[in-house]
């Protein structure tokens, strides 16, 4: 998959050149070709229209309305939904919490994923065992992960606090204190992400030719210099890919929050997607939920765009 993405991005990069060359060469597109094109593209266009474009437009439409308890738009309010959200302190708090969460999760996932992958790449006895263990969370469903971490964080019988009490450390109410709840959710999410990230990074590390390290070794290049100046640039497409995926995924985080904190305490973990869920499917407030969806989509688009702008400069495709 990583390979594919790399290839696609490569194609994307090459696209502008191809387009400009298209301008100079005029293709003779006859009617039959056009018909063929419609036959081939039509079905996928239809699927996109039904399942992507229509819901998108519908969401945009609903975001301008108040909806009644049957979910029907009844009163047109223009941008009032947007205005009331952007001036609501609780929504702004959600926004801030989401940024904190997304950035923390993305960065920690990347760092720990890379660390584990690098550690497992060393050819020592038992490294196979660790490879299996590290990629283990791939096979863990959100609900199982939530149960596991709920037990870890449990205030009376939880493992973490039992360890803390043995070590005479202060006992933390992980999920009921606003600051700690966010920490707990971040830890659980990073843990969940690690299996996939580890596997992708581990695979990428294996594609770095051993000769590069040997050449560096012979020249007396230190291990850390090798990591930052050989390993990182060599796997930069993968790092880029993982960072985009992780970022988007963490914006969309839902399961762990629903199961562990339900957005609490005091909305400390009430991230944007969870809020949308609550407003749409618990409060039946589809108009407001649509507005929140539109805002979230814009935010993700901006983040992804920035990431492409900033990070892609540092990515080398081979």
């Amino acid at each position: 998959m990583e390979q594919q993405v790399t290839n696609n991005s490569k194609k994307l990069k090459q696209l502008p050149q191809n387009l400009s060359s298209l301008k100079t060469v005029s293709y003779d597109v006859n009617a039959r070709d056009k018909l063929h094109a419609i036959w081939f593209l039509g079905p996928s266009l239809l699927v996109l229209a039904v399942f992507v474009f229509y819901p998108m437009l519908r969401t945009l439409y609903l975001s301008l309305f108040l909806t009644n308890n049957l979910g029907k738009p009844t009163v047109f309010v223009g941008l009032q939904n947007y205005w009331s959200l952007l001036t609501s302190s609780s929504y702004l708090a959600s926004l801030q919490a989401t940024f904190v969460y997304v950035i923390a999760v993305s960065i920690l996932t990347l760092i720990f994923g890379l660390l584990l992958a690098q550690a497992a790449s060393f050819k020592v006895k038992g490294s196979n065992f660790f490879r299996t263990v590290f990629s283990g969370t791939m096979g863990v469903s959100v609900s199982v992960a939530a149960i596991f971490w709920l037990f870890m964080f449990n205030p009376s019988i939880g493992l973490l606090d039992q360890i803390a009490s043995v070590l005479h450390l202060p006992v933390i109410n992980w999920l009921t204190q606003p600051g700690w709840a966010m920490t707990a959710i971040v830890i659980s999410t990073v843990w969940m992400n690690l299996g996939f990230t580890f596997l992708i990074f581990f695979g990428a590390l294996q594609t770095v030719p051993v000769n590069l390290y040997e050449a560096a070794q012979i020249e007396g290049v230190s291990k850390s210099y090798q990591f930052f100046h050989i390993t990182l640039p060599m796997i930069s497409p993968t790092v880029f890919f993982v960072s985009i995926i992780t970022l988007i995924e963490s914006f969309k985080s839902f399961g762990l929050i629903d199961l562990m904190t339900a957005g609490g305490p005091n909305n400390a973990t009430n991230l944007l997607v969870y809020r949308i869920y609550q407003d749409a499917f618990l409060n039946g407030n589809y108009g407001l939920a649509s507005t929140e969806s539109v805002i979230l989509a814009i935010i993700i688009a901006i983040f992804t765009f920035l990431q492409f702008k900033i990070l892609e400069k540092r990515v080398t495709y081979q």
Binding site: L66, N68, N69, S156, P178, T261, L282
Partner: protein
């Protein structure tokens, strides 16, 4: 080659025979079923309640030949509400369905249901046998909208064995806040802070009951029973007293905050069952789980009330059963027959024994199965007594308001803040303002002036 072909032919022959037999059998079964009127019943019960409910369905189908009730599980309460509203008028919609307490106003205002009062009147059904508090919850201006079914009230649970161990006098059956504070503090101190005294989950339902038990309405228009509410009031004296009580116990360290959400109640239950928590407020439906989960003796009291005033009684929670109006009269009649079956004294008694939900038929208390239960677990009688003792009024019949989920979210956020030490009045006021804004726009969207 020849052999292979023979084998193949044999296999095909056998398969064809099986298909034919199967087909004939299926047609016969279908033929039998089509003689009866099909009544699709949507429910959201899980665990032992689901099991018992399916037994009822089976028994009902066997008890008569006119109707065939088909029970379908629809996930959790919240999801079910959306499905009910979204499928109405289509082939996929249910004839009779279970929906949670706080969706009552929403379901009623959808106009998708036939009030059960219609059938009560047609049949001259003796509705007085059914618990008046439960009925009050699901009534609008005295008219019964749906039949209360799985019903519980919040009660106070305590670990009697633990209290005995630390030589603590148990709380009275109808305790005040200070009664509970005493027990909780003693337990916390005498156990050398190993056992937490008390937990009050951050749960909007409990907050509503603090107000109900103080005799205060949350929403105007008599908690919505007289008309669509336009305003709520959260920072009432009763609510403030209850929150002060919580903060007082938090300060002393006796109260354990488990937070909100499903994990909170699970953690709370786990702590209680493992003897690390002495007292907690929770639904009476938890009783079967509690008696099964620990060998310690279980104590139960009524929901606590403010000092210096009498308990006004608490509202119920749970869910009720509704009849859809998008089905022909015969199907609706079948739905009603099924509801009547469920409400029979013996069935209600079995229901309580099997699930912990309260038997709503007054005659159920004389049933053998309940008598045996009370003998085995004397405390199990307390919730039933609380229910029968409660006289329904404007404040303890539930809040008839659309957007109760929003109300719960907001009151829970306020509780969260209060549990983390913030000013009670400010937090409640903030939640109240947010709720009033919500009500205003919701009423606007639904065409209520």
């Amino acid at each position: 080659m020849m052999k292979m072909r023979q084998a193949l032919l044999k296999t095909i022959g056998t398969a064809a025979a099986i298909l034919t037999i199967g087909g004939v059998w299926a047609t016969q079964v279908r033929a039998q079923a089509t003689k009866r009127t099909k009544v699709v019943f949507w429910n959201e019960m899980t665990g032992p309640a689901q099991q018992k409910l399916n037994e009822f369905v089976k028994e009902f189908n066997q008890s008569q030949t006119k109707y065939q009730v088909v029970s379908q599980f629809e996930g959790n309460y919240n999801e079910a509400v959306q499905k009910i509203l979204n499928t109405h008028g289509t082939d996929a919609s249910p004839a009779v369905f279970q929906s949670m307490d706080i969706s009552t106003s929403q379901i009623y205002h959808s106009g998708y249901t036939t009030p059960v009062q219609k059938f009560v009147d047609q049949d001259h059904y003796d509705i007085d046998k059914i618990s008046p508090v439960a009925r009050a919850f699901y009534s609008e201006k005295g008219k019964l909208l749906s039949m209360p079914f799985n019903t519980s009230q919040p009660v106070l649970y305590y670990n009697a064995t633990l209290l005995k161990k630390y030589h603590i006098t148990p709380p009275p059956t109808d305790p005040s806040y200070s009664d509970i504070t005493r027990v909780a503090t003693q337990l916390y101190q005498r156990s050398h802070q190993k056992v937490k005294g008390l937990s009050v989950e951050i749960y909007g339902w409990l907050f509503e009951q603090f107000m109900a038990n103080s005799g205060e309405s949350m929403a105007n228009q008599a908690d919505g029973h007289n008309g669509t509410p336009t305003k709520v009031n959260f920072d009432t004296p009763g609510a403030i007293k209850a929150m002060k009580w919580v903060q007082e116990n938090l300060k002393s360290g006796a109260l354990m905050n488990f937070g909100s959400g499903s994990s909170a109640s699970a953690n709370e239950m786990a702590a209680f069952l493992s003897g690390k928590l002495g007292i907690f407020l929770q639904s009476s439906a938890d009783i079967s789980q509690l008696t099964a989960g620990t060998k310690d003796k279980l104590g139960i009291t009524y929901y606590p009330h403010p000092d210096g005033q009498k308990a006004n009684g608490v509202a119920i929670g749970g869910a009720s059963i509704w009849i859809s109006n998008d089905k022909p009269a015969t199907v609706q009649r079948g739905s009603w027959e099924f509801i009547k079956f469920l409400m029979k004294p013996e069935n209600q008694a079995q229901w309580q024994a099997a699930t912990g939900y309260l038997a709503l038929n007054k005659d159920s208390q004389q049933e053998k199965v309940l008598q045996e239960l009370y003998q085995k677990v004397p405390a199990a009688k307390v919730p039933s007594e609380q229910l029968s003792k409660t006289k329904p009024d404007e404040t303890n019949s539930g809040v008839f308001l659309q957007g109760l989920i929003q109300e719960r979210t907001l009151t829970q956020t306020a509780m969260d803040q209060i549990y983390n030490g913030s000013n009670i009045k400010n937090s409640l006021q903030q939640a109240e303002d947010a709720m009033n804004t919500y009500i205003k726009s919701n009423n606007q969207a639904n065409g209520v002036k």
